[in-house]
Subunit: 163 residues, 2 copies
DNA sequence: TATTGTTATACTCTATAACTATA
DNA sequence: TATAGTTATAGAGTATAACAATA
């Protein structure tokens, strides 16, 4: 974890401003780290594959959970149903997913990816994972630890938001 | 790091969707963790102190860097100058910061917090830090490691974005 | 010419409200 | 009465373009 050759500086990653207090705020650090991963996503997937971050996530969740409903997606991503609705519209218009009426519950829809969508998800995930491990100054072990800790934070959601 | 009593499940924190592939994508995990820290911020600071996340960050950076300019803030936060400009307008209207013309460079403005702003920053940071360590299932050591790793990721910004 | 900062504007993201159709 | 999903609309958030003042 420690690296004697690059000591921790209390400066923002850009603009060279003192940020000692903010370094104690996890929310701030998440935002700063997200600037980097957003840039990687945009470069590797957003621009070349014409896919927005949330679209990629929705597409992946549908790919891994065929037959899921809109409401489950909304809950998983913590966004409102209207959002998911229009998002799914876009993905359907692009030919990446298909939406059918459920036979058990005729209110609900059943979602699954098309082969085109499955290909896109596979390629996108491959590119992001490769680009992240190449661009980020983390060892494989550090990446694993980071993933684990972030997952723990994410799991506090029910405690914080209820549900 | 490991916890035998709560084995890692490849399920989303809500909605119980399979997310094995996404767990390899750092950007996704950051987004999921941010859902939690955003909720904590809103509850502890956003609502009671009537402050938005970016406003809090800007206010803190000004408090720690008195005499700084708008452009430096924009660079630190990776947003465009017009954004910072209106944000600073709001903070000034709330009486939290003061903006003066620089004497060295008469184009530039010099920013510093008012005593009201300094009080607010102190109280806000206190509340967030306390709430985060209370609400998140991380030991002090884990929090430190997480902070360190996120900082490393954030430092990759120049590599990814240039500059 | 380049930089600081502003205004005006537009686009994206996400939320709420109101609705339908089913259960 | 509650739930799945949609449409319409409104509010943040952030970006680009065009500009004024200064370096």
């Amino acid at each position: 974890m420690s690296n004697r050759r690059s000591p921790r500086l209390d400066l923002t990653p850009a603009g060279r401003m003192e940020e000692a207090r903010l370094q104690k705020v996890l929310g701030y650090q998440l935002a700063q780290a997200t600037i980097v991963t957003d840039a990687i996503f945009r470069e590797q997937v957003g621009k070349p594959l014409n896919l927005r971050p949330v679209e990629y996530t929705v597409l992946t969740l549908i790919a891994e959970n065929p037959g899921g409903s809109l409401v489950r997606l909304a809950r998983a991503l913590c966004v409102t149903p209207p959002n998911i609705s229009t998002m799914v519209d876009r993905l359907e218009a692009k030919g990446l997913i298909a939406r059918e009426s459920s036979e058990e519950d005729r209110r609900a829809h059943v979602l699954h990816v098309t082969s085109k969508g499955a290909d896109l998800v596979r390629k996108a995930t491959q590119k992001i994972v490769a680009a992240e491990s190449q661009a980020l100054p983390l060892s494989a072990g550090e990446q694993a630890i980071l993933a684990e800790l972030l997952h723990k934070v994410a799991l506090a959601r029910s405690k914080v938001l209820g549900g």
